[in-house]
């Protein structure tokens, strides 16, 4: 009997302690200020959440490096990071935890972190919440925003290299989800290839996963057996497909990160992230209390035109000729000026006109239109 009551007492004490700490942290995060402070002003800490690990040789690694650049640029700021935060309500909990630790500037770096980010933004008007990659539909709260680079611009340029180098005229694209960014990338890649090689086609396979190495391998093999001789991808971790291309002796175009060391013979071009400047600018804007009404308090997209594109071209492979490099440089100049990878005429897979001849769509229009593949892309968009 004595033993049972001792156990009961112990359990009761533990439960009490648990409840006390839970209550404690709840009260911290639920003190919402009445919005007197500008979002992010004078913040002591900045928080970053990532959907994957920081060493994925791709998307999350680049975002993490951006976070570390912020740390170097702002030595007085506490930089909080959390990896492997799922794209569910859990993200909101993690963000709340960072707010409790004094973070008034939050970066939610994965596409489907948006809902969680907006939830937290609604609860804390004095916290500036920015999300990477998605689009806020409807009214944008005063303390929130999304940001992204026009990734399809360097992908278009890489597509040009692919179109020039391919011998079978078959390119392969492995992707994860048919979100607008990805569809824009696939379309831009094909359009870039078409601009130098009217016979180029792009086969697509999706894996329904940002990083399932088994599915990636199978996808790569299935594309290779179709005679594809240039592989590229929109996946978070890029090693498997890059290596599969190298083993098969075909060419590979990189994405997210410079993986040329994995494919010394096959690497021809690629694109990678360079978040530091953009992250630092966002943090500085928020710290100065200038977030609301700034360009970041919107669906901010940065491209070659404003010179802040965080997505840049990777180095060319050794087999790429100077002639091709010159073509690419000329195209980049054009895009930075009055051009666009989606300059009309652009025709959809089913023949309908996406962009009229002579029209140059702006960034917002492009994202709206990216729900179908262009002609030359082989594969259907999975219906949700």
């Amino acid at each position: 009997m004595q033993r049972i009551s001792r156990w009961t007492a112990l359990v009761a004490v533990l439960l009490l302690a648990l409840v006390a700490t839970a209550c404690g942290s709840n009260s911290d995060s639920s003190t919402t200020s009445d919005g007197g402070d500008a979002p992010g002003k004078g913040s002591e800490a900045v928080g970053f959440i990532f959907v994957g690990p920081k060493d994925d040789f791709g998307y999350n690694q680049a975002a993490y490096q951006g976070a570390m650049a912020v740390k170097d640029a702002f030595p007085d700021l506490d930089v909080l990071t959390a990896e492997n935060v799922p794209e569910t309500d859990e993200a909101a909990r993690v963000l709340e935890g960072m707010v409790a630790k004094g973070a008034k500037i939050l970066f939610a770096t994965s596409y489907a972190h948006l809902d969680a980010a907006l939830k937290v933004a609604a609860k804390h008007p004095d916290v500036a919440v920015v999300q990477q990659g998605n689009l806020i539909k409807g009214d944008i709260p005063a303390n929130a925003g999304t940001y992204f680079g026009t990734v399809y611009e360097p992908v278009f340029l890489a597509g040009m290299v692919a179109g020039k180098q391919t011998k079978t005229n078959k390119l392969g694209y492995v992707y994860a989800y048919p979100i607008p960014q990805t569809i824009a990338n696939i379309n831009a890649f094909e359009l870039g290839a078409l601009s130098v090689n009217p016979k180029a086609v792009t086969y697509t396979v999706n894996t329904s996963n940002w990083c399932d190495t088994g599915k990636q391998e199978e996808a790569a093999q299935s594309l290779l057996s179709q005679g594809v001789d240039v592989l590229t991808q929109h996946q978070d971790c890029t090693a498997t497909i890059t290596k599969a291309a190298e083993r098969a002796g075909v060419m590979v175009v990189g994405y997210h990160a410079d993986a040329s060391s994995l494919a010394p013979k096959g690497w021809i071009a690629g694109s990678e992230w360079s978040w530091a400047d953009l992250y630092e600018d966002i943090v500085q804007t928020a710290l100065d209390g200038k977030f609301t009404g700034s360009k970041y308090n919107a669906n901010f997209r940065s491209g070659l035109k404003d010179g802040l594109n965080p997505f840049v071209q990777s180095k060319f492979g050794s087999s790429v000729s100077q002639e091709t490099k010159d073509l690419v440089a000329a195209a980049a100049k054009d895009i930075a000026g009055s051009g666009s990878p989606f300059k009309g005429p652009v025709v959809a897979q089913d023949g309908t006109e996406l962009v009229a001849a002579g029209t140059v769509p702006d960034y917002a229009t492009i994202e709206q239109k990216m729900v179908v593949f262009v002609k030359g892309v082989i594969g259907e968009i999975p219906k949700t």
Binding site: D55, N84, G172, T207, T213, S225, A239
Partner: protein
């Protein structure tokens, strides 16, 4: 441009091998009367250990061995709690799974970006030139070829040797073996650890020979599929081979169709492998339950008892 059936069948062997290893391992454990749901965990630690040791030593064979050892070590944990502490087998297996998942996610972070000299595909001279058969079976990595020997060897050991008889006896009724003076506990331990070793080898094959990379949770449920395969194969190695390849084929079907521009509902295709397993289990389940060794039947009876 290769034919669709050829692609799918080649993909079946390519993708099914890691599952086959785990299924062979689990066959041994279940024949001895122990269900190890932690097979997935053993596969994961095997995948990480295989990749990591290959990166450090430069030899994928050493890596594969390390993967097996890691898988066996995790299975030892399962064996201890189930055999010595009489814990519920199913619950312990799941806990071991989460242990494996947590350990590999923690220690594996450093290896995601590392490169390792992995297994290269090696075409078997002469045999690989046979139309269709050559491409499906004889253009893979050495660990895949190893399974071609392992399956008949395991069948032989389990059904035709004294050791096999011991293992089968232990799975039926431990008291009988005990009466004859055999060390029942040791046999069961060895069976479970051997099962974990093979599962670890399967994980190593996944990371060093199939995907050529490490990423956390890269097995994506293959260990559980292996357990299901063992059930509907009634612990027979040859049938386990068929079941593993069936799953591999289902996994290869979606990309093969997509690469040809066909589009069947994406989510239907993604769930196809698992649906296939469920269908086979439903069709064969009752028959299998009656055939299972008595020791195994007791495990499931215990868990359904209220």
């Amino acid at each position: 441009m290769t034919a669709l059936p050829l692609d799918v069948m080649t993909g079946a062997v390519r993708g099914g091998t890691s599952i086959l290893y785990a299924a062979l391992g689990e066959s041994v454990a279940e024949t001895a009367g122990v269900v190890n749901l932690g097979t997935e965990g053993s596969m994961l630690v095997g995948a990480l250990a295989g990749y990591a040791i290959t990166a450090h030593t430069g030899s994928p064979w050493v890596g594969a061995l390390a993967g097996g050892v890691a898988g066996g070590a995790l299975a030892l944990v399962h064996a201890f709690f189930v055999l010595d502490r009489k814990a519920n087998q199913l619950a312990t297996g799941l806990v071991v799974l989460f242990l494996g998942l947590g350990l590999t996610s923690l220690f594996g972070a450093a290896y995601v970006a590392r490169t390792a000299t992995s297994f290269d595909a090696w075409n078997v001279p002469l045999l690989s030139k046979i139309p269709w058969i050559g491409e499906i079976f004889f253009q893979h990595d050495p660990l895949t070829y190893l399974t071609y020997f392992l399956v008949p060897a395991l069948w032989f050991v389990l059904t035709r040797t004294g050791i096999g008889l011991l293992v089968r006896g232990v799975g039926e009724r431990t008291e009988v073996l005990g009466t004859y003076g055999h060390n029942v506990r040791l046999v069961q331990y060895l069976a479970v650890v051997a099962g974990g070793f093979l599962a670890g080898l399967g994980g190593a094959q996944l990371s060093t020979a199939y995907a050529h990379a490490w990423f956390e949770n890269m097995t994506q449920g293959r260990g559980f599929v292996a357990v299901a395969v063992v059930i509907f194969a009634a612990r027979r190695p040859l049938a386990a081979m068929g079941g593993s390849y069936l799953f591999g084929a289902a996994l290869a079907l979606s990309p093969a169709l997509q690469a040809r521009g066909w589009q069947i509902n994406q989510f239907a295709l993604d769930s196809l492998p698992y649906l296939a397993v469920i269908v086979v289990l439903v069709l064969l389940g009752k028959k299998r339950a009656a055939e299972a060794p008595e020791g195994l039947q007791k495990v499931f009876e215990m868990s359904t008892a209220t």
